[in-house]
């Protein structure tokens, strides 16, 4: 039913992207000369200083072109402020017209969000497919409930100390992941990773992977489970944790890795890994380049020794955690057309490029043709340190813990940190059967509707 309008929109988008701003102005995103009110936007408050300014500049550019007044709030995810805002607005059916949604919250509020198929399909037609994690979280029940947004979308792959990996484990990580070229990572396997963890632990610089229940910990450990084929719940909602050979293999591996990690790893939050690396104690963490950015500011010598690279391969493949952000438009919004117009503008390559540049490469667009910007190749020190961060050669599967389970189950597996808790239980010496039984029981509790 939307076919004709979709084709027209694509053509217009293509024209808009290729031509001068004048052409953009002619695109009929907003069907009114002037909007009836002010478009209210709630963006996630970016960690990286200056990144918010780029978002403001883009919105202002659109606002001037379309004659739509805007108001922007930057809402921090610290203390779950963004989450509370989403919950409050969903309950009150009032608030921002456009709001940022991280990971699980788009599926959670999908019934209250305006379908974005026309916007996302247009962007997919121009910039290629989105990765599996973005599709899993954004396209639920047959429609896109939000637009994958560049700002905040991140990968949590390994960031290593070049010097310490060389000294303790004899690994030249720059040779394995050379700047500007495809990775030479055939030997970068789970076995190599475990040996390196042992060597770095013995050398007094343990790896820093959290085992807490915040997203850095859960996402990283989820990638290990995936690398061993360890699914807790199937796509159709069957609980297979107790029978899965992949889960058993992952737990066996992580039981060995756990004691080699930083002390207090079971209590880590999302700031702990950053602090661990910047303190100079750690030889590797799994995180977006915010830790590197802090090191550039606070410990420049250390920053010159950091290299972001790909994850090790397990029997089931090479997995890296990807955490996307979306922009959604509430159904109660009286300015849906204007909101869609803004989202279409923010999804363009030029907008994505500006956001990536302003965040020093922290942000990663979801579309496959937008992962090779200059920013990642040129930022430093050392030069090329972030080249492999967005997986420009597509050697990894981008994953999220809990997938492919139905969203209501997977969200709770993720937020309750079921996988990390299983690992810590194993580290405490609990029997495998007891751990698997506990996990199955917890997940059964998540099935309530």
């Amino acid at each position: 039913m939307n076919d004709s309008s979709r084709i027209t929109r694509r053509r217009l988008l293509a024209t808009a992207a290729a031509a001068a701003p004048a052409a953009y102005l002619s695109a009929p995103f907003v069907r009114r000369a002037h909007a009836a009110g002010t478009l209210s936007i709630g963006f996630w408050d970016h960690w990286v200083p200056g990144a918010n300014d780029a978002a403001v500049a883009l919105v202002n550019e659109w606002s001037e072109a379309e004659g739509v007044p805007v108001s922007i709030d930057f809402i921090t995810s610290q203390g779950n402020k963004l989450l509370l805002t989403q919950a409050a607005e969903a309950q009150a059916k009032a608030g921002h017209d456009v709001l940022s949604f991280g990971t699980w919250y788009l599926p959670q509020y999908r019934d209250q969000l305006e379908p974005m198929d026309d916007v996302v399909d247009g962007l997919r037609a121009k910039y290629g497919e989105v990765n599996d994690t973005v599709r899993y979280l954004g396209y639920v029940d047959g429609f896109w409930s939000g637009m994958p947004f560049t700002a905040g979308s991140q990968m949590k792959g390994p960031c290593s100390r070049i010097d310490l990996l060389k000294r303790h484990a004899g690994i030249d990580i720059q040779a394995m992941y050379p700047a500007g070229a495809a990775p030479q990572d055939d030997d970068w396997t789970m076995e190599t990773f475990l040996e390196a963890a042992k060597a770095c632990h013995a050398g007094g610089n343990p790896f820093g992977i959290g085992l807490g229940s915040t997203s850095d910990s859960v996402d990283s450990i989820g990638a290990f489970f995936n690398a061993f084929g360890g699914q807790l719940v199937t796509e159709s909602g069957d609980i297979v944790v107790a029978e899965s050979d992949g889960v058993k293999a992952a737990l066996d591996y992580l039981r060995q890795l756990g004691p080699l990690l930083a002390p207090d790893a079971p209590a880590w939050d999302d700031a702990s890994n950053n602090k661990w690396l910047v303190s100079g104690n750690g030889s590797m963490i799994w995180n977006p380049p915010s830790a590197w950015a802090v090191a550039v500011r606070d410990a420049p010598e250390l920053a010159r020794n950091l290299w972001t690279h790909g994850a090790p391969a397990g029997p089931a493949g090479r997995y890296s955690p990807f955490l996307p952000y979306f922009l959604g438009v509430w159904r109660f919004s009286p300015m849906k057309d204007e909101a869609k117009s803004l989202l279409t503008f923010l999804g363009q390559e030029s907008s994505a490029k500006a956001l990536v540049e302003a965040s020093s490469g922290y942000d990663i667009p979801a579309f496959e043709k937008l992962t090779k910007f200059d920013t990642w190749a040129k930022v430093g020190p050392p030069p090329g340190t972030l080249y492999h961060y967005p997986d420009p050669h597509g050697t990894m599967t981008l994953s999220i813990s809990g997938a492919p389970a139905p969203h209501n189950i997977a969200q709770q597996i993720f937020t309750q940190g079921v996988m990390t808790k299983m690992v810590v239980r194993q580290m405490e010496g609990e029997s495998l059967d007891r751990t698997l039984g506990w996990a199955a029981n917890e997940i059964e509790g998540f099935l309530r509707m």
């Binding site: 207090d264 702990s272 303190s279 709770q412 309750q416």
Partner: protein, 311 residues
Amino acid sequence: MTDQLTLEPASAPLRPKPRASLRVMSRRKSTIAVLMTLPLILLVLSLVLYPAAYGVWLAMLNKSMERFVGFGNFEFLFRRETFWMVVWQSCLFAVSAVIFKAIIGFVVAHFVHNIHNRKQRIWRGILLVPWVIPPAMSTLAWLWLFDPSYSAFNWIIAQWGGDPIPWTGDANWARFSVILVNVWIGSPFFMIMYLAALKSVPDQLYEAALIDGATWWQRIWYITLPMMRNIIAITALFSLIVTFANFDIVRILTAGGPLDRTHVFGTWAFSRGIESGDIPLGAAISLVMTPVLALIAVFILRDILKRGSEV
């Protein structure tokens, strides 16, 4: 209207006029009292009773908040292993913290009571600092003291040749840490309440006891404690309720970890309700302790009232 007027008896003019009755009503003390407290009543209704009632309503809905399930959420909770662990932890956290706060507050109040008046003011001010600082802020400072990478405590321990302590990484140490911070923040409240109570104990009682040859311990046991009984009960009750409902300390220090072993009702309700998107279950968790605490409050307050009427 016309019919009614024609039916009025001859004595009708004797009835007070409406304006006059309004004047009489406004002169009544009870009316004035109600009017003056009306803003507060409205405030209580809108900010306390409405959210509480809404919370009860939410706790009786299904996960997607589309269906009334009665006590279904509570039945579900009672079957969960983690729920009973949280019950145990909340009791451990609240009871042990209140006991330590009461003991420390009692001892410190005595010390401060024995200081000379002018210096006492300075000490009172200094000792109140932990209670005056917003808990979220002071807990952040404690978080740094416990931090695995930068812990000042561990640095001192290392200077003495000891091994670092996993303050928040090990379940038992983490429980100790959250209780310690709660005691640190809450003790000054007990101290100031007990100090006020101590000041109201007549000196003549102690003088008479001294003449009778009472020991220090006997004076404490037979004079101080009975005279402070009401204030001890009220303070303990108030602190117990506030400590049971604590959120910020646990949330900031451990977020309930490791392995959920420091969760209390508030933090677990937030984790299940907001983070996991199950608002009705979160509401049910936060309401579980209400009847128990209400019962404790009734017994303690009844006891205090009884003693008050005896006096």
